[in-house]
């Protein structure tokens, strides 16, 4: 009877270990960002790309409309892929695009904009990448959709594509 009980305990213990390890093996050990988590936009101050004036986030997001914050850089190859789509989105009247120029050289960034067009209503300078951290980003390109209540409602890691543009248009409609 005692041996049977011990065997039962051992089996239960091994099954428990098996479940824990099996679950552990199935969960990815790389960072997977939460893309649908609703978060308030961070409060920050940043330099304007054109005027070089210091602006507060309240001033940047002052209108009660949808905003897109796109983190980009002239050295970032995927940013070139998504640029025509951002140009397409910028034609939409119910949304404003804010560009966050990430760890870039000013002249290169200026050339990028003059070569490919400017989809942004405002570009902010993020010289040391700390502004991107405030948004919870970890690379370029990254795009955030902000609703009228100033909540980040969607986060797109990597370059946006036609499907994402469709999704954004559907949300802001």
């Amino acid at each position: 009877m005692k041996n049977k009980f011990c065997l039962f305990i051992v089996i239960i213990f091994l099954s428990f270990c098996f479940i824990i390890f099996y679950k552990g093996l199935n969960t990815p050990n790389t960072y997977t960002p939460q893309i649908n988590e609703k978060k308030k936009i961070p409060t920050f101050g940043a330099k304007d790309f054109d005027s070089n004036n210091y602006l507060n986030s309240d001033k940047i997001f002052e209108e009660k409309i949808f905003y897109i914050v796109n983190i980009w850089a002239s050295w970032c190859v995927p940013c070139r892929t998504e640029h025509p789509l951002l140009m397409q989105l910028s034609k939409n009247q119910s949304i404003k695009l804010i560009g966050l120029n990430y760890r870039d050289n000013y002249n290169n960034a200026k050339k990028f904009i003059s070569d490919f067009g400017n989809p942004y209503s405002r570009i902010l300078i993020d010289k040391d990448g700390t502004l991107a951290i405030e948004f919870g980003a970890y690379g370029v390109p990254e795009t955030f959709l902000i609703d009228k209540n100033k909540d980040i409602i969607k986060k797109f890691v990597g370059p946006i594509n036609q499907e994402i543009v469709k999704e954004i248009k559907l949300i802001i409609k």
């Binding site: 960072y31 760890r103 040391d128 990448g129 700390t130 991107a132 948004f135 970890y138 690379g139």
Partner: protein, 124 residues
């Protein structure tokens, strides 16, 4: 002369305390950076990494320490932005109860078994 001596002592004391506070901040900064995971690297801490992401985090941590934020407050800030994954040392929450309590449970069960065996041996 006495006044001059007092001035020199005061000057040295204030400067040494500043140096000491910088040193304390550096120790704290390194401790925090070693406990933050570099999200774009493979198994590296922010302290060990030279990536853009890591250098931005280093700047953020430095600014937060200079602002007077405590270690826990800095971790809380980073967890709010990136989730628990960014910290190497996981906090006690509903997802990590097993991780934290299982070793304790093993210790207690093992201890009970050993104690029972010893008592049995003594009875004999």
């Amino acid at each position: 002369m006495k006044i001059l001596k007092i001035f020199i002592i005061l000057f040295l004391v204030t400067n040494f305390s500043e140096l000491k506070s910088d040193e304390t901040n550096d120790v704290l900064k390194n401790k925090i950076l070693k406990n933050i995971r570099c999200l774009i690297c493979q198994g590296q801490s922010v302290y060990d990494s030279e990536s853009d992401f890591a250098s931005s985090i280093k700047l953020i941590v430095d600014r937060k320490i200079n602002k007077g934020l405590k270690e826990d407050q800095i971790y809380a800030f980073l967890r709010k932005k990136y989730g628990d994954w960014i910290i190497f040392d996981p906090p006690l929450n509903k997802n990590t109860y097993i991780l934290w309590l299982l070793p304790l449970l093993f210790f207690l069960v093992g201890g009970a078994i050993i104690q029972k065996k010893i008592l049995k041996k003594n009875e004999k």
